[in-house]
Amino acid sequence: MSRVTQTALVRDDRTLYEAAAGLAVGLSGVAFVTGLAALLNIVAIDDPVAGLELSVLFGVVLLGLGATTVGFGVASRFDYVETGAQPSAGIVAAAAFTAIWLAVGAAVSGAAGLGTVGQLGVGVFLGAAAFATTAFPREDIGSTMPAGAVAVLCGLALVTGVVGPGWEQALAGYNATLFGDTVVPAVVLFASLVTGWSAAKAYGGFGARGRNVGAYVLTYLVVGSILAVLVGLVAFVTVRGLPGLFNGFSVGGAGLLSWPFLTNGAGLLADIAGVFPALLGTVWLVIGAVLFAVPTGVGAAVFLSEYAEQGRFTGAVEVATNGLWSTPSIVFGLFGAAFLIPRFGNQKSLIAGMLTLGFMLLPLVLITSREAILAVPDEYRDASAALGVSKWQTIRSVVLPAAIPGVTTGVILGVGRIAGETAPILLTMGGGVLPAKSAAPNVLGGFQLSASPPFVSNPALLEATSALPYQLYALITAGLSGNIQNPQEYAWGLALTLLLVVLVFYAIGIGTRYYFRRKLHQ
């Protein structure tokens, strides 16, 4: 991949311009982050900053950004700096600005009290104007003028206090009201995004390179926000869940380690309510699903990639597998309820949950195993065949061992996914809201042999059992209340436990992949 190199010729007279544009991008970034903080109520929009209300300061910043952005375009257009601006900003930018200005026009005229016709008229007029400004002049004007104007308009509204703390606007017919507390940050986020993109284009000197920079800024922002959401979610659940998870936790004493939240039930006898039955339920659920799905999925993958000829049968299996993969989990739940429950004692049971999740795990295992087996180079098979080894021997001692890393990774990631599934087990497995420790399933000790059919039975498998995700759902529907000391803390602890169980599976799965990949590349 080539990185665009900057030649000395282009750089000469543009250092100041570039520095200013870079500064504008940075300032837009700061405004974006602060706006986000205001939206999340980390800072209030009427907090005084440097003698000004935050919302007014936002307005000043947006005004400045808007004016500078327009300035970049004008400076380039009148050749104060040399840029690679093209004849037009392009149809995509034009469409985007048309939409933005149409929305701005409709919103502003709506707030000013114009009717639907007026709103539409103003919106269409401004949209058309934005289209003309973007599409017809040279690119440097086209991609800065409408953007700067948006920021200036937003800035004016904030500076003059037309929109600010205490502002509110009832949405007629929607039974909802917009308040300054949410609208101001939203306006700031939006305007800073627009100026950030425009300034980034100016930084790149417009043209192909400018578009490159502008697009990269937006993409990095998108990916950064996704990662920030991920980290934020995990951190939030962790902070809220730690007190519950470590309630009564101690090291030393009678046992080496005492962790009541993970080893207690939630009955009257337990001083500190714990999630042991649900945790054990999840463990057995995963074991059961894996026992059903992994041999089946790997076997099917072997047949499909080693024995079967590509044809109608393999095509049908592939379509069915992908169809199963995308089937909603609640449909699996309905299927389990209609198919498995009548066949296992007509009540919600652990084994029905195991098999339902097994059905869900099957396509995941099959798809990843098949990919792993297909990734084994044909040379391995040919070498083995050349030695006179039979087909099955080749599969068993050459193909499968080589495919094991991929299969393992796929299985672990799949397990992580089904361990957190709620909808299927809600319909097939059930269980109590706050099960006591005695409700924990005793699968190993439960097998019984009898002389009459069905000869083998296991009451533990046939009972409704709780699992972590189900218990969390049951707690929520019970209104986060119950016969325990602190249901809120308990529920967050439970959510953290569930999240940790799933994340551990993912960490192991991803770790295994890296380990094997590094081994392969050595």
């Binding site: 991949m1 080539s2 017919g173 929607y174 039974n175 009201t177 917009l178 578009r211 993409t219 998108v222 996704i226 990662l227 991920l230 939030f236 659940v237 089946t296 076997g299 099917a300 047949f303 499909l304 379509v319 069915a320 597998t321 199963l324 995308s326 089937t327 909603p328 989990s329 609640i330 449909v331 309905l334 299927f335 209609a338 198919f339 396509p363 099959l366 087909k391 099955w392 068993r396 990631l413 996914r417 361990a419 957190g420 599934e421 709620t422 909808a423 809600l426 319909l427 069905p454 000869f455 083998v456 995700p469 929520i476 986060l480 529920a491 999240l499 799933v502 994340l503 599976f505 991803i510």
Partner: protein, 375 residues
């Protein structure tokens, strides 16, 4: 092709099969053949027994285990082939059973909602011709329209979130990111896929709903807006991983050609990579839409649970019920036609998502063919 040639064709193919089978039987050790036949036969018997809910299912299952165990020790190669074949059919059988069972359970509801259209009585038409869902008070009607409206609202918002962000993130991972950053972002997005939906729902229920209630002065905090955004976040990883596969499957030769002409990375992406992978990327978005339609727990926990169409139709500030949350909320307490109507909701979901899945597979297959077998 005329009828007779078709018939002879058919006959010839069967005859060929028969000769093949005969040759195979002659070549194979009779002991091995017997074991495989016993093993597969008893497996089939066990499956039939299970279907009929017979208490004797354990007998053929035991026979299967014994025959397979013996055969594994003596005739592994042949048995392995037979057993893996049996395992392959499991996916087909599962899909078939899902279709049969949820359709069968939904028949009473479709019959109950029979409506006459132009003198012809159409079963199930009443589910889509009026908007009343009430399982308790008279008149008892089971219209799916309110829930379909909810699902459409949530899915639209979710797609608006997941499609642009997902495609941008896929472009980033496939084309833009330096290797080190990619090694960080890719697992990050995978982990995002792993966060259980009930955890999202729990956060939505305890944090987002109360916040939305105050921030927009709403009656209650259930909104399609925020459910849609949460569901979009959940559908995002699907879009990213499938779109990334499509983008990386564009042959490097094409991109390098563009770069060699002096195009910037972004120009190569927008004029070479994205157009070439367009069908794959749209398949990714379709699959993301499918995920959003099927997402259950966050919707169940965050929505109000009242089967109602919002006023006006596009009011995103109030959230009532989706197809999935209807099933999850109502299943335990429903019986009779009500329960059957929940299965009917399941049928609508299943058919919609299956169509999306098959559609995206078709698009992907076409893209592979067009890129000249670059897989």
């Amino acid at each position: 092709m005329s009828f007779t040639t078709l018939q002879t064709d058919w006959r010839a193919s069967i005859e060929r099969r028969l000769t093949h089978t005969r040759a195979f039987v002659d070549d194979t050790d009779p002991d091995a053949l017997a074991v495989v036949l016993v093993s597969m036969g008893s497996l089939l018997a066990a499956f039939v027994g299970f279907l009929l809910a017979s208490a004797w299912t354990a007998v053929p299952l035991g026979a299967f285990l014994i025959a397979t165990g013996y055969g594994w020790a003596r005739h592994q190669a042949l048995l392995a082939r037979a057993v893996t074949f049996a395992m392959t059919t499991v996916t087909l059988i599962t899909l078939g059973l899902i279709v049969v069972f949820i359709f069968a359970e939904s028949i009473p509801a479709f019959q109950y909602e029979t409506t006459t259209v132009f003198g012809v009585s159409v079963p199930g038409f009443g589910m889509f011709a009026q908007a009343r869902w009430d399982a308790v008070s008279e008149p008892v009607r089971y219209s799916l329209l309110p829930m379909i409206h909810g699902t459409v609202m949530v899915t639209t918002i979710a797609t608006l979130v997941a499609a642009p962000l997902g495609v941008a993130a896929a472009l980033f991972i496939a084309e833009i990111a330096p290797p080190r950053v990619r090694e960080l972002v890719k697992p990050g997005i995978e982990i995002l896929a792993g966060i259980p939906s009930i955890v999202y729902g729990f956060i939505g229920f305890t944090v987002i709903n109360p916040w939305a209630s105050g921030a927009f002065a709403l009656n209650g905090g259930s909104t399609y807006l925020f459910v849609g955004m949460v569901v979009g976040l959940m559908a995002l990883p699907t879009v990213v991983s499938v779109a990334e596969d499509a983008l990386t499957s564009v042959p490097d030769v094409m991109k390098n050609g563009s770069l060699a002409l002096g195009a910037t990375d972004w120009q190569s992406m927008t004029s070479i990579t994205l157009p070439a992978a367009f069908s794959g990327v749209s398949a990714a978005v379709l699959l993301g839409v499918g995920r959003a339609i099927g997402e259950t727990m966050a919707a169940t926990v965050m929505l109000a649970g009242v089967p109602r169409i919002s006023e006006p139709l596009v009011n995103v500030f109030y959230g009532y019920e989706t197809l999935t949350s209807l099933i999850a909320r109502g299943y335990g307490s429903a019986n009779g036609v009500h329960e059957s109507a929940l299965f009917a909701a399941g049928v609508v979901l299943f058919v919609t998502v299956l169509c999306l899945s098959i559609g995206s597979q078709y698009i992907e297959a076409r893209m592979r063919r067009r890129l000249g077998g670059a897989e």
